[in-house]
């Protein structure tokens, strides 16, 4: 009797599991695979209220994590949120569905600066979600001279008072910018030129941290940082002494976009979601929760003065910004170079 009941329970479980799978095929579901801390719950609830579509959310912490999960389970996710160089790699590998732009009329709200970029030149595959940059944060209570370029960060005056992102590609791109070399066409020759610059820079670094570089700045362990603009915006909002500046040599602009992976089961719903977040009033809610640069021109008109005045979200002037392109296998050489130099500067 006991075993029979157990068997019954197991059978029931299987039925539930199968019907659960079947449900995702029905019209009312959207499987969203997005960054953690990037899509406000308010926006998801609003979408469900308006369309009746249930949203299943799964999060990731890096493009690389997203890629590996996406490629292992085709047909599981309807909408993903990769950064520009990852989009380019996915397009090259033919892993994205083309968008039906007639279903996304609100795309007209976007600022043209953020569309038709090299990673998706005809806007066929992706719609920008939020943008940001990588720039310099200075604790002006400790550092009195202005620091607005990579060269000034690593002039030697801030030796062992610096936090930088723990990201080999970012670090190498700064050295390349300071040498006026292209950051997206990386060759063994350009790496060889970057090497002596980095050999001089990296021994001055106190902390490498990509996840929460603001911590070292807040605790007073370092005075200068090269960090994500979102982190800088949070620091500035906490205390105005943390000033953000984009490096004079040029900086990396990252753009995270929404895209539909190949074979997504609910492509129509995914397009509905894209159209929904492009509504200015909805887009503002995203900006309120996560102070990155909003690419939606109509939404920006609705932001408060204080939001627009945060230099980390909306850097003043006309800075030199460039997005990353997919660089393929040379990333292994970049990783080796940085590991090598970190190792040499240690001990």
């Amino acid at each position: 009797m006991r075993t029979f009941r157990l068997f019954l329970a197991l059978a029931l479980l299987c039925v539930v599991a199968v019907s659960g799978r079947a449900e995702t095929k029905k019209k009312g579901v959207l499987n969203l695979f997005c960054w953690s801390e990037y899509v406000p719950q308010e926006v998801i609830d609003g979408f469900t209220r308006q369309t009746g579509i249930k949203v299943n959310v799964e999060n990731y912490a890096s493009n690389e994590e997203m890629l590996s999960k996406l490629l292992e389970s085709e047909g599981k996710y309807d909408l993903i949120q990769p950064s520009e160089y990852t989009i380019e790699a996915l397009i090259k590998a033919n892993k994205l569905e083309q968008l039906h732009l007639e279903n996304i009329p609100n795309i007209k709200n976007l600022d043209p600066t953020y569309t038709s970029l090299p990673h998706d030149p005809e806007n066929k595959y992706s719609v920008p979600w939020m943008a940001g940059s990588v720039g310099i944060v200075v604790n002006t209570a400790k550092v009195k001279t202005p620091v607005t370029s990579y060269k000034e960060v690593f002039s030697g005056a801030h030796k062992k008072r610096i936090v930088i992102l723990n990201d080999a590609r970012e670090i190498v791109s700064w050295a390349l910018s300071s040498l006026d070399l292209p950051i997206n066409e990386i060759t063994p020759a350009s790496l060889a030129k970057a090497k002596p610059v980095l050999a001089q820079w990296l021994p001055q670094v106190r902390v490498y941290d990509s996840d929460s570089p603001k911590t070292a700045l807040l605790n007073g362990n370092v005075d200068v940082g090269i960090v994500w603009s979102g982190e800088a915006a949070i620091l500035y909002a906490k205390n105005k002494k943390f000033q953000y500046a984009l490096p004079a040599e040029g900086a990396h602009r990252f753009i995270d976009s929404l895209a539909i992976p190949k074979g997504a089961p609910n492509q129509e719903n995914a397009e509905k979601f894209i159209n929904f977040i492009l509504i200015p009033e909805v887009s503002v809610k995203i900006s309120n929760a996560f102070p990155y640069t909003n690419p939606n021109a109509e939404a920006r008109k609705l932001l408060t003065k204080a939001q627009l005045a945060n230099p980390a979200s909306y850097p003043p002037g006309d800075p030199k910004l460039e997005t990353f392109r997919d660089i393929g296998k040379i990333s292994a050489d970049i990783d080796k170079l940085v590991t090598d130099l970190k190792n040499a500067s240690g001990d």
Binding site: K160, R206, A216, A344, D347
Partner: protein
């Protein structure tokens, strides 16, 4: 003493009940140790494509990259240096744990029965808090605006903040703090079993305390010490969270480098090769140690 061959445990073969009782453990080992290791071995001989997916084409390249530096054309690479650094950190950690932990274990093992449990609970209490929270707590203590620097400045022992966090010393401190109980517990086990009469006998026969410690106590608690060393050294080599959080990622350790291969570098085959190499190094050291132990016993 006469030995009855049937009584020797190694001669007894497990019956079906024995196998049934072992089955969960065996399944566990196959699913979570054997299978993942085999996957790693396969990966380590593969290559990666542009997207970072594993391409199943046989190649020695990953292992060559670990041992041979093609830029300089010689044996010995940055990765071997990183292995060495991690081993040094782990060895220092183990050393500190022995020096600090042995007296504690001895004291607990010799304490009154009732107090023993209380003391053991005290050793275990830190485990009730999450490992990450304990590590962040250390960061708050050691940081420039932190409690320790504040106290030292207040008492005028130092005039300006002393850099403690994000140094190799901080990494070793964090490791030693986290792994100390893993040394205390096995040593305590040996100390508790040690017959006090043997110590008394040695003293009666004229040995001075140092000699007793050297010739009686250490050999008798050796199994506990060895178990403790294994339990501290091996996890300490691979631990990357402490090195990342308290060392600031400045001096790369092998755990960090491997983690990096699986995430930002998107090179799983190379990460797998590093992991397998680390495992083989452990196996080799273990094997040599076991062989020397055997010859000593004989």
């Amino acid at each position: 003493m006469l030995k009855c061959p049937d009584d020797e445990p190694s001669r007894r073969r497990p019956g079906w009940l024995g196998w049934a009782l072992m089955a969960p453990m065996l399944l566990w080992l196959i699913a979570f140790v054997v299978a993942p290791t085999l996957i790693l071995v396969v990966y380590s001989f593969c290559q990666r494509d542009e997207l970072g997916q594993v391409v199943y084409r046989f190649s020695w390249e990953n292992y060559r990259r670990i041992f041979f530096d093609s830029d300089r054309g010689r044996l010995g690479t940055v990765y071997l240096d990183v292995f060495l650094r991690s081993a040094i950190y782990a060895a220092l950690t183990t050393g500190i744990c022995i020096v600090v932990g042995y007296p504690v274990a001895w004291f607990i093992g010799r304490a009154r029965e009732g107090r023993r449990n209380l003391l053991l609970t005290l050793v275990m209490i830190p485990f009730l808090t999450s490992f990450l929270i304990r590590t962040y707590a250390w960061m708050t203590i050691l940081s420039e605006d932190g409690i320790l620097n504040g106290f030292l400045e207040y008492t005028r022992l130092i005039s300006e903040p002393f850099q403690m966090l994000y140094t190799p010393g901080a990494v070793v401190l964090g490791l030693a703090y986290n792994y100390l109980p893993f040394l205390i517990l096995p040593v305590y086990g040996s100390v508790e079993k040690l017959d006090p009469a043997l110590v008394e006998a040695a003293l009666d026969l004229g040995a001075n305390p140092w000699r007793v410690f050297q010739k009686v106590i250490i050999p008798l608690t050796m199994p506990g010490i060895l178990a403790g060393i294994v339990l501290v050294f091996i996890p300490a080599v691979g631990m990357y969270a402490v090195a990342q959080l308290m060392g600031g990622g400045v001096d790369p350790t092998i755990g960090e480098v491997i983690q990096n291969q699986f995430f930002s570098a998107r090179d799983r085959p190379f990460g797998a090769a590093l992991g397998i190499t680390l495992m083989l190094m452990f196996a080799l050291v273990f094997w040599i140690g076991a062989r020397r132990g055997m010859t000593k016993l004989e």
